[in-house]
């Protein structure tokens, strides 16, 4: 299989293969994209843009595998999860290193991501309990009623580039534990982590066709979205594409859960413990170089000018101390942007901010990382006095850019969040139970943090975006995942 450990001349870079019906197969495609290490710009591998026929073939194998896979007792399917979990533990460091190399995030962040993926597998291992239905005796004299949960067939996943190890696992373990079969189309920018995890699933011995990986781009996505044999799709990415995936999938009667963009607000109240708040805000804004749908983007100082200035100084000092560099260096706190295109987009937003009149008080452009001069780095950046309705204050930048905003009171801050089209996450930093309670009760977002910078739900809770951050009803992870990947069947019985 592909080894993402060496660097390689572009022509010699290994080709990523698809995993179909339990076999690693070379795509017939003649079109390839480079998989580039964003810290070094070296080409790690080349990923094929698989054809529609290859997708259809994978779907057919998944459809055939479904017939036998769904008949296995849930306990047996759960055992595959235990095997997979053990393999993921065994290859934890290797998978984390691959992830850092292809994505750029720090090695600690990569380890933390793989851990989250394992947690979803661990949760799905409890499928005999998770998938239980319910019943009621004597709904009428002599009549009993029961509700059972059954799998539906083939599901597909279209994950993004920012969490290539974790996000497919918000869905995949639950889907197959429920008795469905699965096709993943990894992000073409970062296919190597999923490739490694595919190797582990192969080693775990899942029957052929239960899990399939087809690499490619929009053609592969469209083939999955339009196939009548695919029962549902899970997507994470930008809002316009989430909207497209949702409308295309549901138009043909598929289930769809589609997560889009975000613009997350962090409210800092005057009574917050600032020393403890700073590290949480730093991780929120600059972790994964800001390339998280839960990243804090707008930091709102709630209170008077003196508090605003005090907070600004602390934020600027902390951000300035953040070490940017190659994620494989354990002293590095922030890696590069995922790609040149991603870096250019963030630089463009910084230009926009300047044109909009915001004051750039910490400029991460032109940062030099010794030994990695070609890397796609932008250092921690802070805009002061941002209007929440401006472009930089309202749109997702997806980079290490903090927008510092003033609000005279709690209600004004809350209104800013309400007026933003996105509703993925929001956090409050306070010592007041009253403000915390008011915030979590009233705020219009789905993942809420109280003195937490990244409110990332663990495996047993749904990842709950709202507004333009999510299209669908049932989210990834938790019981939502079980409900998404099963159909209800109600049986009413009477015996004569």
């Amino acid at each position: 299989m592909v080894q993402a450990t060496k660097v390689i001349d572009q022509k010699e870079a290994p080709l990523v293969r698809n995993y179909v019906n339990g076999e690693w197969v070379a795509s017939k495609s003649t079109k390839f994209l480079d998989v580039v290490n964003p810290a070094t710009t070296e080409v790690l591998a080349r990923v094929p843009m698989s054809t529609k026929e290859e997708v259809d073939e994978a779907i057919q194998y998944a459809k055939e595998a479904y017939q036998e896979w769904r008949e296995l007792p849930p306990l047996t399917r759960g055992r595959y999860m235990f095997t997979l979990k053990n393999l993921m533990e065994e290859h934890f460091e290797e998978a984390s290193q691959i992830l850092t190399k292809e994505h750029g995030k720090s090695i600690d962040e990569a380890r933390g991501e793989i851990r989250r993926a394992i947690e979803c597998v661990e949760h799905a291992a409890g499928i005999p309990t998770l998938m239980m239905g319910y019943n009621l005796e004597t709904i009428a004299p002599g009549l009993d009623e029961e509700c059972v949960l059954q799998p539906l067939g083939v599901f597909a996943c279209l994950p993004p580039s920012n969490f290539p190890g974790m996000i497919p696992f918000w869905f995949l373990p639950y889907a197959i534990a429920c008795g469905n079969t699965y096709v993943v189309k990894p992000s073409s920018e970062v296919p190597l982590t999923m490739n490694k995890l595919g190797e582990l699933m192969d080693e775990a011995g899942f029957p052929p066709g239960v899990v399939n990986i087809v690499n490619g781009s929009r053609d592969v996505s469209d083939a999955l979205l339009k196939s009548p044999d695919v029962k549902g799709v899970s997507f994470v990415g930008s809002t316009p594409v989430a909207r497209y995936v949702y409308s295309t999938a549901t138009a043909s009667g598929k289930r769809a859960q589609c997560q889009g963009a975000a613009k997350n607000f962090l409210l800092v109240m005057p009574d917050a413990n600032l020393d403890k708040t700073m590290p949480a805000v730093m991780n929120s804004v600059y972790g994964c170089a800001g390339q998280r749908c839960l990243a804090g983007a707008n930091v709102v100082a709630v209170g008077d000018d003196a508090f605003y200035e005090k907070l600004k100084k602390k934020l600027t000092d902390s951000a300035r101390a953040t070490k940017t560099g190659n994620g494989l260096d354990e002293s590095v706190q922030m890696g590069p942007l995922r790609s040149k295109a991603a870096m250019d987009k963030v630089l463009s937003y910084i230009d926009t901010g300047l044109k909009e009149g915001a004051k750039l008080i910490l400029d991460g452009r032109n940062i030099k990382v010794p030994g990695f001069e070609k890397g796609y780095f932008i250092g921690p950046t802070i805009f002061d006095n941002v209007d929440p309705k401006s472009k930089i204050g309202s749109e997702e930048i997806f980079g290490p850019v903090m927008c510092l905003i003033r609000a005279k009171d709690f209600n004004e801050a809350l209104r800013m969040i309400d007026e933003n089209p996105y509703g993925n996450a929001a956090s409050i930093f306070t010592s007041s139970g009253k403000w915390a309670r008011e915030f979590k009760h009233r705020v219009q977002a789905g993942d809420i943090g109280v003195n937490i910078g990244i409110a990332a739900p663990v495996a047993f809770f749904p990842f709950s975006g709202w507004k333009d951050s999510f299209f669908g009803d049932l989210h990834g992870q938790g019981f939502d995942a079980i409900n998404f990947f099963t159909e209800r069947k109600v049986v009413i019985s009477r015996w004569f």
């Binding site: 990569a110 933390g112 991780n283 002293s331």
Partner: protein, 143 residues
């Protein structure tokens, strides 16, 4: 050097435990110090156990959403001296061991506070700080 990330703190701790384990193994093998052989062997075994537990707990607990920068923790504050001559007396050996345990106790206490965002590992550090206090007491009893 300042330890600024969770990984750095963990890596440095493992190095210290490695060094500690080797130190106690050497003492246990020293024919001049046979009267403390069992104690030194136990301490060396404890270091090995702590290393394994630390690696496992860290691997199982690290979470990208909880990671925070670490500040104010420096390698220099816990540089341990494990150099001891072959002909060292039991008094010298116990004295060096006590200095080491004292530094390790302080390091685990301080580092445990700094990485409290990964609470399982932080708790482990605090437990190990207590272990080192007990080790100090054992060394005190020995003299």
């Amino acid at each position: 050097m300042e330890l600024t990330t969770f990984s750095m703190v963990l890596r440095y701790t493992l190095q210290l435990e490695d060094q500690t384990g080797q130190f106690y193994r050497a003492l246990a093998a020293n024919s001049n110090l046979m009267q403390a052989k069992d104690l030194f062997t136990k301490f060396a075994d404890n270091s090995d156990r702590r290393k394994k537990d630390l690696e496992r707990t860290a691997r199982e607990s690290v979470d990208h959403s909880l990671l925070e920068p670490v500040s104010g923790l420096f390698e220099e504050t816990c540089t341990i001296n494990t150099a001891i001559p072959n002909d060292a007396s039991i008094t010298d050996a116990i004295s060096t061991a006590r200095a080491l345990e004292d530094k390790m106790q302080k390091f685990y206490t301080e580092a445990g506070d700094k990485i409290n965002f990964i609470s399982n590992v932080s708790r482990l550090y605090k437990r190990y700080a207590q272990d080192r206090t007990k080790a100090l007491a054992s060394l005190q009893d020995f003299t």
